[in-house]
């Protein structure tokens, strides 16, 4: 089984297939919303407020007459934007720190790892709430607050896998042939650590989407006129008696995005992690 190529095995992996399909659906919605939505997502049209779903408004309208379907499509943009940048911050700084820790060893490694231990002791979402509350609500601050707590996580994952890779013979061979630590880190260690990082990045993406939704729900993330699923939910909460459906669609959208990312991550772990593959 392990002799088959990545795509041949991927085709038999239900987690990967379902996850990829859901993620493509969300990414497609975001891309589509850039060029077309049924109505402008932020267009207020009070005379047509709280309409039931119909041919004109597939998912109805909200309390200000905005088209819910358009808002859901546009909301995907913020989720993906926050996820990509927050995970990107974590990957860039975390991987660098992790590689430094693994190649430098000794005091530097201890220092970096102790610091990441401390960071782990804080409830990340609580700190994100505090940061956005003090530095001001908004997408940029939300991204930074979520991204900051990805850094120690990626540092730790990178160091653990890099240490495992560096213990192998071919690293010794590279060192014996006169390669410097930076060259070894980029040419040999990083490609071998990449599968673990890809899996972790997918999982963290899902967590970032949830965190953005929570911050926006609390009014600390996306601000009007930006559309966010979390903010839609907080608005819908005031109308539970009049229009309960408004509280359903944005939540479903979040669930689909997170479920897709988690399944994709699980599938990729099965497909990419060589240790798991050997175990079959």
């Amino acid at each position: 089984m392990s002799k088959d190529g990545f795509f041949a095995r991927a085709r038999r992996n239900p987690s990967f297939l379902v996850g990829a399909a859901l993620v493509l659906l969300v990414a497609g919605a975001a891309a589509l919303s850039l060029v077309w939505t049924p109505y402008p997502p932020a267009a207020i049209d009070v005379p047509h407020k709280l309409l039931e779903p119909s041919a004109g408004h597939w998912l109805g309208t909200d309390s200000l007459g905005r088209d819910v379907a358009s808002e859901i499509l546009a909301g995907a943009r913020i989720s993906i934007l926050v996820g990509v940048i927050a995970v990107g911050i974590g990957v860039i700084f975390g991987v660098a720190l992790g590689l430094v820790a693994a190649s430098a060893k000794g005091v530097v490694e201890d220092l970096i790892m102790r610091l990441s231990d401390f960071a782990f002791a804080f409830p990340a979402l609580l700190m994100a709430i505090m940061l956005t509350a003090t530095f001001g609500a908004g997408v940029v601050n939300a991204i930074i607050a979520i991204g900051v707590f990805n850094v120690p996580l990626f540092a730790r994952v990178t160091r653990a896998s890099a240490n495992a890779v560096m213990a192998r013979e071919f690293i010794l061979a590279a060192r014996a042939s006169g390669k410097g630590p930076v060259a070894i880190a980029f040419e040999h260690v990083l490609p071998n650590v990449a599968p673990v990082l890809i899996v972790q990045a997918t999982i963290q993406f899902a967590i970032a989407v949830l965190a953005e939704a929570a911050l926006s729900y609390l009014g600390l993330g996306a601000q009007p006129p930006q559309t966010s699923w979390g903010r839609m939910l907080s608005e819908a909460q005031n109308l539970l008696y009049q229009a309960p459906r408004l509280a359903v669609f944005p939540g479903l959208a979040i669930m689909i995005a997170v479920l897709g990312l988690n399944l994709l991550g699980d599938g990729l772990r099965d497909l990419l992690d060589p240790r798991l593959r050997a175990r079959r």
Binding site: F118, F120, A124, L125, L126, T134, Y241, I254, M255, L259
Partner: protein, 316 residues
């Protein structure tokens, strides 16, 4: 074990000190003159200076930091600017709501996750396992505040079985107060249980594949005895560790869910304090929550070492 405890306590103190520095430091560097922000743009410079003096904001950073720590050590959390009352009393009022909520939710999480994880692990690869895993995958993807809104929708709006929010206070009697916490606790606990169920299942499956499980069977122990005496204690350390980490999520989740159910808990206090720029209250609340999380994880570490003799050695 004694040496281990000593090491752990030292680490706990260091972590708490670091946390306090971060909490105090972050709120110090917030933009704008705090006293000015509190009083608004129309305040006279004299009034701003007077308030700054009253709050001690004209002192240097180190002085204020140590004064703050010393106050906490004495049980004096300072005065709230917005409420003009001692912060210690404010927080303990709110904890009377938040602490039971967190404990009920954590208990729910533990009971659901341990039984579902055990159920799934014993039926590995069968239909029951698949159903539990699918349900937990959904649980992982549901934001707890959305789940809370859905619970309100179903149980308060449609079925009218529970209040949609608010808290009558413990003085109104146990039943109504407890009743007001049930839906919030379910929305927190059920979603958290999804992760812990998966952890429990995989920890148990790992242990059940170990050689010493076969040894125990070779001694003539029943499957039940092998599970309870040999498998579960060995699976418990990873489960406890994750539970400790989850407690942090639970605290953060509680803040959000309190918001959904309009509960007068610590989360609400933090939001009001942030809105009022009541800095000292924010500092104290965040420090309190961070301290709770750090102490819970300390207890988890010590509990794991009590279960597993190898952990006691590794630290020494």
């Amino acid at each position: 074990m004694l040496l281990y405890l000593l090491q752990r306590v030292l680490l706990l103190v260091a972590t708490l000190a670091f946390a306090s520095l971060v909490v105090f430091g972050v709120l110090e560097i917030l933009p704008g003159d705090a006293a000015q922000v509190m009083l608004g743009a129309s305040a006279t410079p004299q009034a701003v200076a007077a308030l700054a003096h009253k709050l001690g904001l004209d002192q240097p950073f180190a002085t204020r930091y140590f004064a703050w720590l010393a106050g906490i050590a004495r049980g004096d959390f300072g005065l709230s600017y917005a409420y003009d009352s001692p912060i210690g009393a404010l927080i303990s009022d709110r904890l009377a709501v938040s602490a039971p909520l967190a404990l009920i939710a954590m208990a729910l999480t533990a009971v659901i996750a341990l039984s579902a994880g055990l159920f799934a692990a014993q039926r590995r690869g069968k239909r029951g396992d698949f159903a539990v895993m699918a349900a937990s995958q959904i649980g992982l993807a549901v934001p707890n505040f959305w789940f809370a809104i859905l619970l309100v929708l179903v149980f308060a709006v449609k079925l009218r079985l529970a209040p949609s929010g608010g808290f009558p206070g413990w003085s109104a009697g146990f039943a109504p107060a407890f009743g007001a916490l049930i839906l919030p606790a379910i929305s927190l606990g059920l979603v958290q249980a999804a992760i812990l169920t998966r952890v429990t299942r995989s920890a148990l499956l790992d242990v059940l594949g170990e050689d010493f499980i076969r040894t125990a069977r070779a001694k003539g122990l029943s499957r039940r005895a092998v599970l309870w005496r040999h498998a579960l204690p060995n699976a418990l350390t990873p489960i406890l560790t994750i539970m400790g980490l989850q407690f942090a999520n639970l605290i953060a989740g509680a803040i959000i869910v309190e918001n959904v159910f309009v509960l007068p808990g610590v989360g609400q206090l933090i939001f009001q304090a942030i809105a009022n720029r009541d800095i000292l209250v924010v500092e104290d609340c965040v420090m309190l929550l961070a301290a709770i999380v750090i102490i819970v994880n300390f207890i988890v570490d010590v509990a794991c070492a009590a279960i597993d003799p190898r952990l006691r050695r590794r630290a020494a």
